[in-house]
Homo-oligomer: 547 residues x 2
């Protein structure tokens, strides 16, 4: 991963065939004034000298092998923080105030057990590190006197077992998304978990943060897929039983999922998997307005058939998507498009009000065809207009690419970030208006004319999540303050509107200030007590999750 | 509820039209020798004098009103234990060694808060009491010096809100199954939770024990229906947020569900509900053997359509069910039956091997008809023979009646009990053989020829639960030892075979000895630590769940 941004170093977001991209964006947020400061030079970034005592280093090296222990400048910077907007702003400036003092790469659970023992006896803080894609400060060291040991799980990346008959598979926690899907695919299986960070995030990271992917409406969030876990804590290793359901007291899997490295290190997970779908059938639809779209999605989730993927953009996001989309040259496509626009307008779909939905169904050919039969009836009831598989295919091809665009926007001096929540159906429309309004209000005074987009990204019978994207010209020299102000008012609006503090990004440090409101005094006290019980000396990812 | 048995005092299990019942049973287990000792007389049962100090009694009465505080002999006995076999044996003998010292009936969460405060300051142990149907010792006081206060939630029985559009409803924890379904039904809704104790158990009890009902394959276990909880603990009231999903740290709902009153008192729950199904279409099928049936159920759960209810009896249970079933007089039915038997035998269905399945689908007329289309294809693949809706209707009508039969069998000197587990698909057949064999081995030496029956009772894509019924002549004077021996070897077999200690009965005291094996040292330590955090003085249901 780029040390200053997202993904493969040479890869960029393709804007060549998007003639409307910059004109639309500038028409909305204005032309950035001069662009950002130039990016720092990696070699010239000054970071603190490693603080780990020699005796501890010896013990660490003896545990993982000297070649799997690194104090190097570049490795420490690569493990210094996640990949949120606030991380990228500071990395580009060359601000890396708290890199880990050392990074180790264990290759077995036994090594992890020994590492935690060393950390305990040597007074080190431990930060578990999967892919490092946290957008909430989940892998960045907090202030503190303790030397920080980053435990990078990338060496624990095996598929341990897969049972296509029982639809159960076990894998080590450090496996990356593509490797996991490839090894499951060899058995004809899929996990069905595709967060936007898929290519660079790990199974353990997904579970530690209660991640969701674009197909979670059908396959479920990651915590719903967990059958059993192995988690190394400072007090011992918890191994939950591999059974489909139980009434043997509280569900420890649900306690460990979402623990964000503050209780221990997830070393292995046993998961519910699915047969690889023979068909992935994604199609785009247009609604006359966001309320119609929400009602249709609610009907699908409550009455069925339940789509694998559902993503409903609000009117501003639809407008942006259509204006900024890829347009390959050639008049036949143009002609079709013009004809389509006339048909759509004649039917009462108005720019500025209409909303685009991407709906995907995965499964056997028969099952997907049946599901589409049912979905068409529901969509028809709410006046949706079919745009076919073309726009859906374009979205599908680029579903992991958007983080690359963020780098381009940052290069141009444009702030872009996302935030998300979930709420019951009856609160979604007011919550949508409240959060979008709060973001616009917060960003306008900073001199920027913001662009605030939203889509429903995962749906449940009892509610759905909303995913907001906001863009504005950066306030030069005040980038962090500008972002913090937007983040604060949006999160206040989420809490006041009855949403959850986070649906799938997690808490880290960025959301901590609202944990009291989310869980109440006694709920928060409970989470703290669990932490104290499993990590009495507070060595596990200190400063995260619980304030 | 009968003080010595199950359900309504005047109600018995109807054996009049079951000419084969006693002959079959006696042919299998032998004629009971003389029957049991006569039942004790309620008035003559000696119980200890209440130990609650006068000051505490005054405070309790001031909190709930004197009319909602009882020290009466009969009320204390009615709250002394659950309704497991071991409870009934002792009740019939008049053995009530540890009744609660007092019973209170609060009618609000505020009252519960005050009750826990009084208990804390006065050194009382608190036992939350829903319907009192625990079969694992969950509501019986443990040994200890502390006076015991039973908190009966039956006064907290309101449906607080119901949203048919959002499929969310909130109810107080003390509401009984029929009242909850009736009040939801008035909004066109159902929870879809029908444990065998349905008529006499409460919402809070279901959640505290992670209950399942006959329709849980479709509607899910109770913990899967919980959206939010309000739980009064000695440290404060935890109120989880009403949202469809979250990534804000560990899921506290999953920590409180299954806590069996050891962390606090569930006062209210917000639940995912369903539209009342227009149709409940239950049908019986016959398989040539248990393995075929298991494969068919696995295919339904993995490929769909997923039935609402699936219940697959093994060969002994099928034989018993057919021999002991209702037979109304009249030759046309007889003739049909004989013709049916000939057809079935000709197709290779052999008594002693064939297995009966009850499969139910609930939903709209269109949805149930479509589901049956898909289910028939799956059933056909595994050679199932349709018996139609007649036998399924008979099962459905009597689905809550079997506990009444237990009383009749006890009257006749026959032990009957059930136990259950769940395991991944690949372990189910060996586990079935292992547990059934262990039960037969354990019961044969006690002079009885046991009858051991089993059915798959709830299914998941990754496994299923097995529900065992065992009957034998009671060993007079040694009833408890006989039962304990059977329970012990069966549970050992479950654990050795990779099942879970309990799929839906819970832990209480009866399963405690295996909690170490179920959760491991560190898992158990975690559950203990949570208990200490929320209930530092150990006043909540002491002696339950965690050994």
């Amino acid at each position: 991963m780029k040390w200053w941004g997202w993904g493969e170093p040479r890869k960029t977001y393709p804007l060549d065939h998007r003639p409307g991209f910059w004109p639309f964006l500038i028409s909305k947020i204005g032309a950035p004034s001069g662009g950002p400061a130039p990016r720092a030079n990696l070699d010239q970034i000054r970071i603190p000298t490693p603080r780990i005592p020699a005796r501890a280093l010896e013990a660490l090296a003896a545990t993982v092998g000297a070649e799997h222990l690194s104090l190097s400048h570049n490795v420490r910077i690569a493990h210094a923080c996640g990949r949120g907007y606030q991380d990228l702003v500071r990395l580009r400036r060359g601000e890396v105030p708290r890199p880990p003092d050392a990074v180790v790469f264990p290759s077995s659970e036994e090594a992890v057990v020994r590492l935690l023992r060393i950390a305990g006896s040597e007074g080190l803080a431990v930060i578990p590190f999967g892919g490092g894609t946290s957008v909430v400060g989940g892998v960045e060291a907090s202030d503190g006197d303790r030397p920080v040991l980053c435990v990078d799980l990338q060496g624990m990346n095996r598929l341990v077992s897969a049972d296509p008959a029982g639809l159960v598979a076990t894998a080590e926690a450090g496996i990356l998304g593509p490797a996991l899907e490839a090894s499951l695919g060899a058995h004809g299986l899929t996990l069905g978990h595709f967060p936007q960070s898929f290519e660079f995030s790990t199974l353990g990271g997904w579970i530690a943060t209660r991640s969701a992917g674009y197909a979670s409406t059908g396959y479920g969030k990651i915590e719903a897929m967990v059958i059993a876990l192995r988690v190394v804590t400072p007090r011992g290793t918890i191994a939950t039983r591999i059974v489909p359901a139980s009434a043997s007291g509280p569900d420890l899997n649900a306690l460990l999922a979402g623990s964000e490295g503050t209780l221990g290190i997830i070393s292995q997970a046993t998961l519910r998997v699915h047969l690889l779908p023979a068909k992935r059938d994604y199609r785009a639809w247009l609604f006359r307005g966001f309320p119609d779209g929400l009602s249709a999605v609610r009907a699908m989730l409550q009455e069925g058939p339940v789509p694998t993927t559902v993503r409903l953009s609000d009117a501003p996001e639809t407008e942006a998507y259509l204006a900024m989309r890829e347009r390959r040259p050639g008049w036949p496509l143009r002609a079709q498009e013009w004809a389509g626009v006339r048909v759509i307008r004649a039917r009462g779909f108005a720019p500025g009000r209409m909303c685009l939905a991407i709906i995907g169904v995965e499964g056997s050919a028969v099952a997907t065809s049946q599901a589409w039969g049912g979905l068409r009836r529901v969509l028809g009831r709410y006046g949706a207009f079919p745009l076919g598989s073309g726009p859906a295919g374009a979205w599908y091809r680029e579903r992991f690419e958007l983080p690359y665009l963020r780098d381009e926007l940052l290069d141009a001096g444009i702030m872009v970030d996302t935030l998300e929540t979930a709420a019951p159906w009856d609160r979604l429309l007011p919550l949508h208006a409240r959060v979008a309004g709060a973001l616009r209000d917060a960003l306008t005074p900073s001199g920027a004319s913001p662009l605030v987009l939203c889509h429903l990204s995962h749906a449940y019978p009892t509610g759905a999540s909303l995913y907001f994207t906001f863009m504005a010209r950066q306030a030069p020299g005040r980038e962090m303050e500008q972002w913090q102000a937007a983040k604060r008012v949006a999160t206040d609006a989420i809490m006041a509107g009855g949403g959850t503090l986070s649906h799938h990004h997690g808490i880290g440090t960025v959301h901590q200030a609202w944990m009291h409101e989310e869980h109440g005094k006694d709920g928060l006290q409970t989470i703290r007590a669990i932490k104290t019980a499993l990590d009495p000396d507070g060595i596990m990812n200190p400063g995260k999750l619980v304030p």
